[in-house]
């Protein structure tokens, strides 16, 4: 690409990234936005600009809202690099990426990382069988191509589990059952945060509405499920579990697992930024201030990749981070930043007030955070929870050492689906905190790059 140095590069075209780019452009910055998908929207608003009427009715009004962001974004002067995978980011402002099998790079004075969330791992026996997908995957299938799995069984907990179930009902493919891990104890603990939840009453109402929809559709729900196990030979065939003291077994072709989402920290980890473990959200977050500034001067972060807050918070954070970045670049005065950001910061605080309630009500259960010995936790290298416990006995203290002991985290997914579990197990076994235990070190390239692509890139 050209040698142009952009003022600001944004990675991710979800609500956070699009809002950041628009805000920066409004204040006169030259902005480039890179995103893996062919269209802007991120996870929540995936394909919103080309969705059919049927898809809009299926996916609901919160989905349709995305067009109000994606349209002005596409019409703006922001340079949108779509369908590109970012596999390298440097503190010096270089971004390496691939598009259509070709590697390229751009440079910017400041980078805003808005890469969103990924689903928390759900290591239960049988979660690697074909036919077991994440609930988010099922939603991606609804949003792209309009595919639904009739009579699927959803397993886990969280607002997204109900949303996807209700969307499947609307698609005319109601799930067969919901096997939920949420317990009365979770609910009672969550009630402590009821004050905050009432401030976020819109979310509460939406949740209650979704559950009522499932009830009307006659979807069977089991709560406080334990000992969940999916079985099958070549493909998943049944889920068995214990609920209210009884054993259950439900047969199906498709099982959709979900235990909430966690920040996607691949880029911030590869940059060696500081991260901290969040005890309530049970995940690591990059450390950032109100404006999304990180431990690196040239890198800010916005949206779910900074900590889970949902789409409205992501859009506000994007604008706030852009203002912070513009001020760092001396393109706006500190007083302007504070003035424009003040109402946004207040609104964000209000929107965030529901989180403690949600995080407590749908907390992932201990028996899945740290599964029993026989359960595979590293899908790529088929390492079990028992293997990790054995490594601990042999003196392994952290995830990076665990790689040397037994390849966990060394497969192509780079620990995206085992990292948190490895940390949780090692922390418990060694008696250290999650922060002391640490997380997998992430190295470039973050996404697969072929030798040919890289050779051409290096020659440039």
């Amino acid at each position: 690409m050209s040698n142009k140095v952009f003022d600001i590069a944004v990675i991710g075209a979800g609500p956070a990234g699009m809002s950041a780019a628009l805000e920066a452009e409004k204040h006169g910055a030259s902005v480039v936005l890179l995103d893996e998908q062919s269209q802007p929207g991120g996870q929540i608003y995936r394909n919103v600009l080309t969705a059919t009427r049927r898809q809009f009715t299926t996916l609901g009004s919160d989905y349709a809202k995305g067009a109000a962001l994606a349209k002005p974004f596409l019409e703006s002067a922001v340079m949108h690099l779509a369908g590109v995978s970012v596999w390298q980011v440097t503190q010096g402002g270089h971004i390496g990426f691939s598009k259509d099998g070709k590697a390229d790079q751009i440079r910017a004075r400041h980078i805003i990382v808005a890469t969103g969330a990924t689903e928390r791992p759900v290591p239960i026996p049988g979660w690697t069988l074909p036919g077991v997908l994440t609930a988010g995957a099922a939603q991606i299938l609804l949003k792209s191509g309009g595919f639904a799995a009739p009579s699927a069984v959803l397993v886990g907990a969280g607002p997204l589990l109900y949303l996807v179930a209700a969307q499947m009902v609307a698609a005319g493919s109601p799930p067969k059952a919901l096997v939920e891990t949420q317990t009365q104890k979770n609910l009672r603990a969550a009630l402590e945060h009821l004050g905050g939840a009432l401030r976020g009453w819109r979310y509460l109402l939406k949740g209650i509405g979704l559950i009522a929809q499932l009830k009307r559709a006659g979807v069977q729900r089991y709560s406080a499920a334990t000992e969940i196990e999916i079985s099958g030979s070549d493909c998943a065939e049944a889920v068995s579990f214990k609920a209210k003291g009884r054993h259950h077994r439900i047969e199906a072709e498709t099982f959709l697992v979900h235990l909430g989402v966690v920040p996607n920290t691949q880029i911030t980890r590869s940059l060696r930024l500081e991260h901290r473990y969040d005890d309530t959200q049970r995940c690591f977050k990059p450390i950032s201030d109100a404006y999304g500034h990180t431990s690196s001067n040239a890198i800010s972060i916005a949206g779910d990749s900074a900590g889970i807050g949902g789409a409205v918070v992501a859009a506000l954070s994007g604008r706030i981070a852009a203002l912070g970045a513009l001020q760092k670049l001396e393109m706006i005065a500190e007083t302007t930043r504070d003035e424009v950001a003040r109402p946004l910061l207040l609104k964000r605080e209000k929107e965030l007030s529901i989180r403690p309630f949600l995080d407590t009500a749908y907390a992932p259960p201990e028996e899945i955070l740290r599964p029993a010995d026989g359960t595979i936790i590293c899908r790529c290298e088929e390492v079990t929870a028992g293997d990790i416990r054995r490594f601990a006995v042999l003196g392994c203290k952290g995830p990076n050492q665990a790689k040397a002991f037994g390849r966990s985290g060394m497969g192509p997914c780079q620990g995206r689906f085992c990292g948190l579990t490895v940390t949780e197990i090692l922390a418990k076994e060694t008696g250290q905190s999650q922060d002391e235990t640490g997380a997998f070190r992430i190295r470039t390239p973050l996404k697969p790059v072929t030798l040919g692509e890289l050779a051409a890139y290096e020659a440039e």
Binding site: T50, L141, G145, F147, G411, C413, R443, V449, T450
Partner: protein, 112 residues
């Protein structure tokens, strides 16, 4: 199994998987098309030979690997196209390939 809830919406394309012709709506990913054709399982793992198929559909888990023109790609991040020839990843290949593709598997060291 996944089925389309908009059977007559989009234009369809025809591609090939392991020599069999499969039609899918234009714009769908290879992984979505294969799931909708009743193929949840796409490969065998290099370690134990266990069957695997698409899991996350967003490019994070790498369980959906297939081969197109001899290159291993994520089926969920690749769009279907007319005449596209998709094959299973040979079981032994997926191990070496994964080493080459991955930041931690020594790929960067190879290049240096």
């Amino acid at each position: 199994m996944f089925v389309s809830f908009e059977p007559d919406a989009a234009e369809t394309v025809v591609f090939e998987f392991e020599g069999q012709k499969i039609s899918a709506p234009r714009g769908a990913s290879v992984a979505a098309a294969l799931l909708a054709s009743g193929r949840p399982s796409l490969r065998a793992t290099p370690v134990s030979g266990a069957p695997r198929g698409p899991f996350c559909m967003m490019g994070a888990c790498f369980d959906c690997l297939v081969q197109i023109d001899g290159v291993t790609v994520q089926a969920c991040m690749t769009s279907v196209a007319d005449g596209l020839v998709v094959q299973q990843v040979p079981r032994t290949m997926s191990e070496t390939q994964s080493d080459h593709m991955n930041g931690d598997g020594g790929f960067v060291e190879h290049v240096k």
